[in-house]
C-alpha cells in the first residue's frame, strides 16, 4: 500500500452536470447487476432452463413415439411443450429477483445505494426496470429458441404448430411476460422482506406452496380458490391446453397476476421509504 498520493484533487473532477437523475440511477443499477458473478451465472442458468427443456422433452417423446399410448399422443401439445421451460426458469428468475435487492441488505451495500440516491424510490424503480428489461430480453430469446426448435423436432410426427396457429403466439408472448412480471414481483418481495432467506421463502411459499395447501381443502372450496393463486393466475396466459376447467381467462388471470405484483411493489416502496436502512 502506497502512502497517500500528494496530488491535490481538482474540485468536482470529471463531472458534467452534477447530480442524481433517473437515467443515471438506471445506468448504475445496470452496472451493479452485471458486475456480480453470481448474477451472471443465474441469468445464464435461467436462459438455458427456459430454452432447453422443451426441445429435450420433445426429442425424447418423439424418439419413443411408437411406445406412447394413444392418450399420450393425443394430449401431447407441442405449443405447451415449446414453452415448457418456464417451469424451471421461474425458479432462477424469482430467486435472482429477490437477491438483487436482499443481497444489498445482507452486505450493507444498501447504505451506499441510499447515500448516493437519498430519495430512495428511484433505486427500487431502477432495479425493477433493469431487471425486468434483462429478463424480458433473455426470456424472449430463450422462449423463441425453445418454441421453434421444439416445433422443428415434432415435425416428424406432424404435430407441430406454427406461430400463427390459434393460441400459439399468445402462449409465447404470455410466457415471456409471465416470467418478466414474476421477476419484478420477486424484486418487490426482496425489498419488502429485506432478507435473502426470508425473501426466497416468501417467493417459494407464494408461488409453489400455496397450491399444495389449497389441495387439502374440500374440493369445492379448493376449486373456487385455485384459479386466483398467483401461479395459476399468472401462467394461464402461458398455457395452451388446460387440464381442468377451473381457471381464469388467460389475459384476465395475467392481469390479476400483475395486480399481485403491483401490491407487492407498493409494499416494498412503503417499506423502503419508511424503514431505517
Amino acid at each position: 500500500m502506497s502512502a497517500l498520493a500528494p496530488t491535490v484533487v481538482p474540485r468536482r473532477a470529471g463531472v458534467t452536470v452534477p447530480g442524481v437523475t433517473f437515467p443515471r440511477v438506471v445506468l448504475s443499477e445496470w452496472t451493479k447487476l452485471w458486475s456480480l458473478r453470481s448474477t451472471r451465472w443465474v441469468l445464464l442458468v435461467s436462459f438455458i432452463a427456459m430454452a432447453a427443456p422443451g426441445p429435450i422433452i420433445s426429442a425424447v417423446q418423439m424418439g419413443r413415439w411408437a411406445h406412447l399410448t394413444l392418450h399420450d399422443r393425443v394430449t401431447f401439445d407441442s405449443i405447451d411443450a415449446g414453452v415448457g421451460g418456464w417451469h424451471l426458469a421461474q425458479l432462477g428468475i424469482g430467486v435472482l429477483g429477490v437477491l438483487i435487492i436482499s443481497g444489498e441488505y445482507s452486505t450493507g451495500m444498501i447504505r451506499s445505494s441510499l447515500m448516493a440516491v437519498p430519495r430512495r424510490l428511484p433505486v427500487l424503480a431502477a432495479k425493477v426496470l433493469v431487471y425486468a428489461g434483462v429478463t424480458l430480453v433473455l426470456m424472449l430469446i430463450a422462449t423463441l429458441i425453445s418454441y421453434f426448435v421444439t416445433q422443428a423436432i415434432v415435425t416428424e410426427h406432424h404435430i407441430q404448430h406454427g406461430i400463427s396457429a390459434p393460441g400459439a403466439l399468445r402462449v409465447v408472448i404470455g410466457n415471456i411476460l409471465f416470467l418478466t412480471v414474476l421477476g419484478t414481483m420477486c424484486v418487490g418481495l426482496g425489498a419488502w422482506v429485506r432478507n435473502s432467506a426470508g425473501g426466497i421463502a416468501a417467493f417459494v411459499g407464494l408461488i409453489f406452496v400455496l397450491s399444495g395447501l389449497i389441495d387439502i381443502l374440500p374440493a369445492n372450496i379448493g376449486n373456487a380458490v385455485m384459479p386466483y393463486l398467483p401461479l395459476n393466475a399468472g401462467t394461464g396466459v402461458a398455457t395452451h391446453h388446460f387440464d381442468n376447467s377451473h381457471h381464469l381467462s388467460p389475459w384476465g388471470g395475467f392481469a390479476l397476476f400483475c395486480g399481485y405484483a403491483l401490491i407487492i411493489l407498493l409494499g416494498a416502496a412503503i417499506t423502503l421509504m419508511r424503514r431505517d436502512a
Binding site: P18, V20, R24
Partner: protein
C-alpha cells in the same frame, strides 16, 4: 456545515440519541467523541438520511440529506458498518456509485489511486482485509470530491500503518479546507487531528468545545510531586490562595495550583533542600475520562435500574 437540531432517536425502548444539538463548522476538523454506545454512529446515520430521527432534524448545508440533489458532491461518508457488496470489485462498486451522479470513469480510477488500491481494484471486495475495506470506503467518500467528509471510527481495527495513513489523510483533507466530521472513542487520536470537539455520552451532549480548552482543562488538573528535606515546613510555605498541598505516597507532597519553577523559587527562599520536583500533567485521555466519566457511570446505574423496572413489570 452540518446542523444537528434537537435530534432524538429511539429504537424501541432504547434511547440512542437524546435531544442532541450541535454544529459542525465549515473548513475545520471536528471530532465527535464519546464512549462506545454513546450514539455517535446513530447520529451520523441520521445526518446521512439513513435513519429517520424520532424527533428533531439534521441538515447538511441547510438541507435535509434526503433533499440533496447531488449528495456525493456535498458530503462523503465512511460508515462504521461495511457498505459494500462483497461480490463486487472495488472498481465496479465505485463505478456503480459514480454513475448515479454522472461522475466519469477517470475519477473512479483517480480515487482508487488516491487510496492505494490500484493493484487490487478488480478483485472482489469480499477478499479485502479490514484496512483495504476502509480504504475502499474512503475512496467512496471522496468520489464526488465533496466539501464535507464524515468518517465514523476510521481507525477502527487498523494496524499502525493504516492508522498513520488515516492520520495523514485527515491532515490532507484539513489542508484542503474541507469540513471534516470524525468520530472516535480515542481522545489521543482526536487531539492529533481535530480542532473542535463534540463530546457525547449516553446520547447526550457533554461538551461542545475546542481541543485547546480540553488541553487547558487537563493542565489545570496538573500537579507537581515534591520531595523535600523538611516537607512540613515546605507545605506551610507553599500554601496560599488556589493552592492545595496534599501528602502523597512515601512522604512526598502533591501540589496543585503552583508550577514547578514557583515551587523551586519558594523552596530556595525558605532554604529547603528539594530532593525531587516532578511536574505531572493529566493526559488528554484523563481529561476525556473526567468529562465522560459521569455519563459512563450513569449508564451503569441506569442499566441496573432498567433491570429493576423489568422485575416490577413482571411482578
Amino acid at each position: 456545515m452540518i446542523d444537528v437540531e434537537h435530534v432524538t432517536k429511539r429504537y424501541g425502548d432504547r434511547l440512542a440519541v437524546d435531544d442532541l444539538s450541535f454544529q459542525v463548522k465549515p473548513g475545520i476538523v471536528t471530532g465527535f467523541l464519546g464512549p462506545n454506545g454513546a450514539g455517535k454512529s446513530t447520529t451520523m446515520r441520521v445526518i446521512l438520511g439513513l435513519d429517520a430521527p424520532t424527533s428533531g432534524r439534521a441538515t447538511v448545508n441547510g438541507k435535509s440529506y434526503r433533499d440533496l440533489t447531488a449528495p456525493l458532491h456535498e458530503i462523503g461518508a465512511l460508515l462504521e458498518a461495511r457498505a459494500i457488496h462483497t461480490g463486487r470489485s472495488a472498481y465496479n462498486h465505485l463505478l456503480g456509485m459514480a454513475q448515479t451522479h454522472g461522475i466519469n470513469r477517470s475519477r473512479v480510477s483517480e480515487v482508487i489511486d488516491l487510496v492505494g488500491l490500484t493493484e487490487v481494484a478488480h478483485q472482489r471486495a469480499g477478499s479485502f482485509s479490514l484496512g483495504m475495506g476502509q480504504r475502499l470506503g474512503i475512496a467512496a467518500a471522496l468520489l464526488g470530491d465533496p466539501s464535507t467528509v464524515i468518517l465514523d471510527e476510521p481507525g477502527n481495527g487498523l494496524d499502525p500503518e493504516g492508522i498513520l495513513w488515516i492520520r495523514n489523510l485527515l491532515k490532507r483533507l484539513a489542508m484542503e479546507g474541507k469540513t471534516v466530521f470524525l468520530s472516535s472513542h480515542l481522545m489521543s487520536e482526536m487531539a492529533q487531528t481535530a480542532e473542535h470537539l463534540v463530546v457525547v455520552g449516553r446520547g447526550r451532549l457533554i461538551a461542545d468545545t475546542t481541543v485547546a480548552e480540553i488541553v487547558e482543562q487537563a493542565s489545570r488538573e496538573a500537579m507537581v510531586v515534591v520531595h523535600a528535606s523538611q516537607a512540613e515546613e515546605l507545605a506551610r510555605a507553599l500554601s496560599g490562595d488556589g493552592v492545595t498541598v496534599e501528602a502523597g505516597l512515601d512522604g512526598g507532597l502533591e501540589v496543585r495550583g503552583l508550577s514547578a519553577p514557583d515551587i523551586g523559587a519558594i523552596a530556595l527562599r525558605e532554604q529547603i533542600v528539594l530532593h525531587e520536583l516532578t511536574p505531572q500533567r493529566a493526559s488528554l485521555e484523563q481529561a476525556f475520562m473526567s468529562l465522560t466519566g459521569s455519563s459512563v457511570e450513569y449508564r451503569t446505574g441506569a442499566a441496573s435500574r432498567d433491570a429493576g423496572d423489568e422485575l416490577a413489570v413482571a411482578a
